[in-house]
């Protein structure tokens, strides 16, 4: 498949990267592993004339117990978490991303910022042209929810929910310096589905930070997909909890693969803190999550099925977490 011409920049320091990003703000994309961006470029989706490659910027790499560099590959992270036996939910999620071949180059930052997906978007240029383009690329209407204002493409990254439930923070650098924000605030739910991140033009992800409390959580991540060896999530459920015997001290739950944003459900889990686990509470929580999510018809599995399975997966993810030591 043909890639259109672009200019490739290969900075070797963070400051040089930020300078380039400033110069080409709005006309450039960052290139990390390229396993999301390059397929999209091959399909002529939202091309930009400049690519700023991050693989030589050492400040962005590295993995340690409380900091995962943005350009750490998923393969690297998988090996590290396996050896360190830390963050079981994140470890579940990372081994379920794509395939070992993809994980060899795919990065953590790219995973958190992976583009949203839709049947009508992830198609060749010819295919999209035949149907008439859509809002997200080259067009002015949505084929899934007929209107012209908002895109409903699905967020299909596996790591975001798993990291959100352990209160991970992201470090972001840009022209105005470095800042930190909770990962869940990186996703801007007030956007139109196309602008969906709280990142200014030219800002990049430097690292993910894990607070020390994250290591006191039991956690798990469960993913629904068509081929167990392979596919993007049709649904992903992450849970984390700190308990004292049967009493829940802290509980977090997040889902991905269902809507345009990964989403944490504090309004449903906060009332359970201080309570004891019971079959009934788990069933009610699962039903409430299932009722709240709004998948649309833009992935392989039917939205009603994904909605129902959200409840099933909440129960299974909690079960898996509770039967896990540590």
């Amino acid at each position: 498949m043909h890639l259109d011409a672009f200019e490739l920049h290969r900075p070797e320091s963070l400051s040089e990267t930020l300078r380039l990003a400033q110069t080409w703000a709005g006309q450039s994309d960052f290139l990390a592993g390229g396993t999301d961006l390059l397929p999209n470029y091959k399909m002529h989706l939202n091309l930009r004339p400049h690519l700023i490659a991050l693989d030589r910027v050492s400040e962005l790499g590295g993995v340690s117990l409380d900091r995962f560099g943005a350009t750490a590959t998923l393969g690297e992270l998988e090996r590290y978490l396996g050896q360190a036996r830390a963050y079981p939910g994140v470890a579940d999620a990372v081994t379920e991303v794509a395939t070992p071949l993809v994980r060899a180059t795919a990065t953590l930052g790219g995973n958190l910022l992976v583009d949203t997906r839709c049947f009508f978007f992830n198609q060749s240029h010819f295919w999209r042209q035949s149907l008439g383009y859509c809002l997200k690329a080259d067009g002015d209407r949505c084929h899934v929810v007929p209107q012209k204002e908002r895109c409903y493409a699905t967020f299909s990254g596996d790591l975001a929910p798993a990291l959100m439930v352990v209160d991970a923070e992201v470090e972001v650098a840009g022209a105005s310096g470095v800042r930190r924000l909770p990962l869940r605030d990186l996703y801007d739910r007030t956007g139109d589905g196309i602008r969906r991140l709280r990142l200014a033009p030219g800002e990049l992800l430097v690292a993910v930070h894990l607070p020390s409390e994250a290591r006191q959580f039991r956690a798990s991540y469960l993913k629904l997909r068509i081929r167990p060896s392979f596919d993007f999530p049709e649904l992903g459920v992450a849970v984390a909890a700190r308990t004292d015997g049967d009493r829940i001290e802290a509980l977090r739950l997040a889902v991905g693969g269902l809507e345009t944003y990964p989403r944490r459900f504090d309004e449903l889990t906060d009332p359970l803190e201080g309570q004891r686990w019971s079959e009934e509470r788990i069933r009610d929580l699962a039903a409430a999550v299932s009722a709240a999510v709004r998948p649309v018809r833009n992935t392989s599995l039917a939205p009603d099925y994904r909605k129902r399975m959200a409840g099933v997966y909440v129960r299974r993810a909690i079960d898996r977490m509770r039967h896990r030591g540590g």
């Binding site: 890639l3 011409a5 397929p39 070992p100 071949l101 993809v102 180059t105 392979f230």
Partner: protein, 158 residues
Amino acid sequence: MSTRTVPIRFQLNGLPVERSIPPERILLDLIRDELRLTGTKRGCDLGTCGCCTVLLDGTPVLSCLTLAARADGRSVTTIEGIMTGGRLHPVQAAFVECGATQCGFCTPGFVLTAVALLRENPHPDRATIVRAISGNLCRCTGYTKIVRAIERASEVAP
């Protein structure tokens, strides 16, 4: 946008290569179309099939999703580069012996993935093998003989 070329130097199957390439050149295209090593196959061109697998500094990667510029300063091994002294690599020999190939289109990718696996883990169990090859698709064999061949190679490995 004017396309400038970028100079790259890398080792391909142990031999030095120097080239000037457009920045958007994909490694798979460089290997097949310019360097004429057609053992590396183009299947999906989108990262899903594993036919285009090559070793980059010993790690299996998808050459269809790798810019050729990323090979600069590194070593690339393709299926043409794993025989020694005119003898098949033990993994290749095991594929022949076990009949692990039918149309053969996926075979170079499987062989390179298996070579890298056995280097890291000379005696993997079956589950580890199945996981390691989960990014390589075969539409002919049903995988049984491929897994068997990798087990066989691990038995005869030095």
